[in-house]
Each structure stands twice: as structure tokens, then as C-alpha cells.
């Protein structure tokens, strides 16, 4: 039995919406990074689903590349979070307002 493409798409849209809600609701940089990771993986699910549908490997290659890039982004995000934490011992992006938008 093959899983229809609509199932992949629904799963990925669900992940994307969850990630977006997290980005909007959460204020802790660690949880923000987690939510962004969810959004990136929503893209991966869609890519792999389409790759199956077209029977074409480039979607899977794309997903692998996305994973590597996401790992790099998270490493830098964690590094910066630790550095901010060291300098002020507080993690809330709303209180990061030494500059006003």
C-alpha cells in the first residue's frame, strides 16, 4: 500500500503551522530554535513526499542538504544563546530591547 501524496502534504502543513505558532507564541530562544526546526522539517517531509511522487531522487538530496544547513543554523543559534545567557543570565527575547525597533 502506498501512502498518497495528500497525506504527506497534510502532515507537512501541520508541522509548518505548529512551527509557526511556536515562533509566534514562544519567547525563549531555545524554544524558538526548536519551532524553527519544526518548520524546516515540514519542508523536508514535503520534499520527500514529492520525491516519491515524481520518482526522482533530487528531492531527497534536497532534504539531506536542508538537514545539514539546519544543523549548522542550530549550532550557531545555541552558541549565541549561550553567549547572551552568559552576559545577562536571562533568556527572553522580549527583554532584548537595548535597541528599539
Amino acid at each position: 500500500m502506498t501512502v498518497p501524496i495528500s497525506a504527506y502534504l497534510m502532515l507537512s502543513v501541520g508541522l509548518l503551522v505548529l512551527g509557526m505558532l511556536g515562533v509566534i507564541r514562544r519567547r525563549n530562544p531555545l524554544l524558538l530554535l526548536l519551532s524553527i526546526e519544526l518548520m524546516l522539517n515540514a519542508g523536508n517531509v514535503a520534499l520527500i513526499g514529492f520525491s516519491r511522487q515524481w520518482n526522482d531522487p533530487s528531492g531527497q538530496i534536497f532534504a539531506l542538504v536542508v538537514m545539514v544547513v539546519a544543523a549548522a543554523e542550530v549550532v550557531i543559534g545555541l552558541g549565541l544563546t549561550v553567549a547572551v545567557f552568559r552576559s545577562r543570565m536571562n533568556l527572553d527575547v522580549d527583554e532584548m530591547s537595548s535597541m528599539k525597533g
Binding site: 515562533v23 518548520m39 544563546t81 553567549a83 547572551v84 535597541m99
Partner: protein, 482 residues
Amino acid sequence: MNYIVGTPLYIMSAVTLLAILTGAFHLKGAARRLPEWIGIGGIVATLAVVTGLWGDSQYGFAGEIHMSRLGILFTWIILVSALAVIALSWGEPAGAGRRPEYIGLILAAATGMMLTVTAGDLIVLFIGIELLSVSLYILCAIEVVRERSLESGLKYLITGAIGTALLIYGFALLYGMTGTTSIEAIGTTLAHAGPLTSQPLLIGSMALIAAALGFKASAVPFHMWTPDVYEGAPTPVTAFMSTGTKTAALGAFLIVFTGAAQGMVSDWRVLIGAIATASMVVGNIGALMQNSVKRMLAWSSIAQAGYLLIGVAVGTQYGARAVAYYLIAYVTMTLAAFAIVILREREVENGDQLVSFTGYGRRRPWAGVVMTLAMLSLAGFPPLAGFIGKFMLFQAAIDGDMLWIAIVGALASVVSVVYYLRVSIVMWSPAPAGEFDGGRRLRIPAPVAAVAVIGGVGIVLLAVLAQPVIDLCQGAAQSLIP
């Protein structure tokens, strides 16, 4: 398989690694400048190689690299601004003690930008955009002891990562609708795809890609991060973000929309046109209220992204030509303006505040002249380069039946005169008594002054010798839309 086409990218990657590797050695005396010289040498070599590739489009590997004239022209702009940024960073306090990483990351970001504008495949386009973004996240935060620098890095990373997620999803949908990641093949498929309105997934992918690239180009409504990040980052890095990143993002806009999605231009032109209009309006109004020149330049870069997107929105060859010319002009005048801000920042505390420029032009007339030229050109005063660029953009809009966007652009330019001229007036007004008498008198780093002067001369030269430059841009635009 043509591997030679990738040579500029190989050189830049090798030079990036070399510059970072110098950090493994304890360099003393003059050798401490080794990373800078490696970077300058690499960029000059890459400029020479890439110039040799100018001509008909060539494909590298299995079509993943597309060395078109447009890509080469944009690579020139990127490399020249990277070179200028290395010069602007001469003696930059932010890089003190970690010059190898600092220079290496600038080179890595430049490599990513080059990859973006010469991409022939969605995967390569994505890697390019990420390479430039990730390098810039670190560069923004490189001054770890300064809280604002860290804050700017983290803010850029979080907003940038949201943009990345949207970009991936947009690319995934585009791949799903066309079954290929090759940009050329996508163009062929989309040309026969029929009207966009009957295909919700295509509309979604176009909207997501426009939003994600809008994040990178700092276009409204994806601009919220720009003022804070630009203000908090070390000023040479800010200069690189507003020139290099903008060039790469506009290059990606042209490749994806004007190039690949040419067949459905009537469907997406409203979308891009709306982003352009919002950027011009919000950017210019935001810039009116700033007291820091650095922040003002950030808002101005949002507004300028709006002008540039007019050329994308019309989706014609004229539009692409105007974008290329205006980018060259914009990069020149922005680098000149940032060079003066950097000079002032090295001299006084809070040197980016508008008040600290009071009377600066009387003290250093050449700096005053360069800043005035840059401001007049950014505001679009004839006959400077900025005016010619804007004229070409508005002309392209009128030719492309988008008269309304040209009118919005012209009105927005009128508003922008207020805040650009304010800087010039402040520079030439009399200095407050006592200022400049006793205070610190630092020696100006020669490379920074050189960037300022070359930028000022460039603004005039681009206007005087406009025709040859426009011909180059025409060639580039033809490689995008025959």
C-alpha cells in the same frame, strides 16, 4: 560536464579556508595582516577569472552552476563590495584578536552570494543563500563582549531562520508542481503551466519564495529585523549586509521570478509590486524619524529594496536592466556613506549619531563632499548615478504598464529628500563651540578613506559614463530574458 565554469567559486572557497587557517598560527607584526592580504588577493584573482568567463551562458557540472552574464555582473558587484568591506574593516575594533575568522567569514559570505547569483538549480540557490546568511549571523555577533552585537546576531538568526524555513517550503512546493529542481527545466514547465489562479500550490510556492527572499532583501513586511540588526552589527558588517546581501537577494528574485517564472508574469507581478510599494512607503517613513545615521541607512536600505523590486515586478528585460544598473549605483553610494560613518565612529563615541556629524564637513571637507554626494545620489538628485538608476526603474515600470508603481516611487523619492538632505545640512552646519579643538584626533586608516573617495568618484563616474555601464547591464538582462 564542464567543471571550469566553477573556477571563481573554487578560488573563493579555497581563499576562505586559507584565511581561517591563518588563525592556527601566531602571526606577529606585519604578518598579522595576512588574512586581509589573502582575501584581497583571492578576490582580485576571482574578479580576473570571472571577467574571462563573460560571454554566452555556460553551464557547470550537470547544469547546477549557470554562469550567465547576469550572474557574472552580479558577481562583480558582490566581489567589489567584499573588497570594500575588507578595506573598511582595516583596524576595526570588532575584528581585533580574531581577524582570521572575521575575514574568513566575509569571504565565506561572498562565496555564498556568488553561489546564489550563479545558481542553476534550486538546491544550489538554497545552499548559496544559507552560506551567506549563516556567515553573516556570526559576523553580526562577532563582537561577543558587546551586548548589542550579540543581540543583533541572535535577532538576525531567528528572523533569518524563519525566512529559510519559508524558502524551503516554497522550493518544496515548486519542486512538487514541476518534478525537477533545475531552474531552467522549471522555467520550461512553468511556461506551459497555464494560469496560476487554477493552481493553488503554485500560488503558495510563489508567495513563500517571495516572502523568504523578501526577508533576505529586507523588504516590507519582512523588514522588522533590519534596523536593530543593522544598528547592532559592527558597521563594516552592516555595510556588507546592505550591499552584498541585497545584491544576492535581488539576483535570486530575478533568477526565480523574471527568469524561471517568466511565463506567469501577469500572475506574480501584483505580489512583487505590493511588496515593492510597501517597502518604499514604510522604509521612507521609518527613515524620517531616525537620529542615528546607521539606523537611517537601515531604513533607507528597506526603501531602496522597494525601488529595486519595481524592476523585478515589471518582469521585463528593461526591468532587469534597470535593477542591475541601480544595484551598481546603490552599492557605490551605500559603501561611500558607510565609509564616512565608520570614519566618524573611529573618532568619537556614538559616532553613528546624527549630532556627532555636526560640522564634520567643515573639518574634513573631502569627507563632507563624499557624504553629500552619496546622500544626494541616494535621494535621486539629477544628474548623479542614483537619479539615472531610478529613472530607468520608473521608465521600465511605465513601459511595463505599471504606471501606478512609478508614481508611488516618485512620491517616495520626494519624501526621502528630507532625511537624506538633513545629513548633508548637518555636516556643513557650523560645529558647536569647543568641538574638534581638544578632542581625540585619530589617524584615519588609509583603506577606509580610499573606499570613501573611490565611492564618491564612482557616484560621479557612473553618471558621466552611464552608457557603457548600461550596455553591460543590457547584456546581463538579455542573458536572463532573451
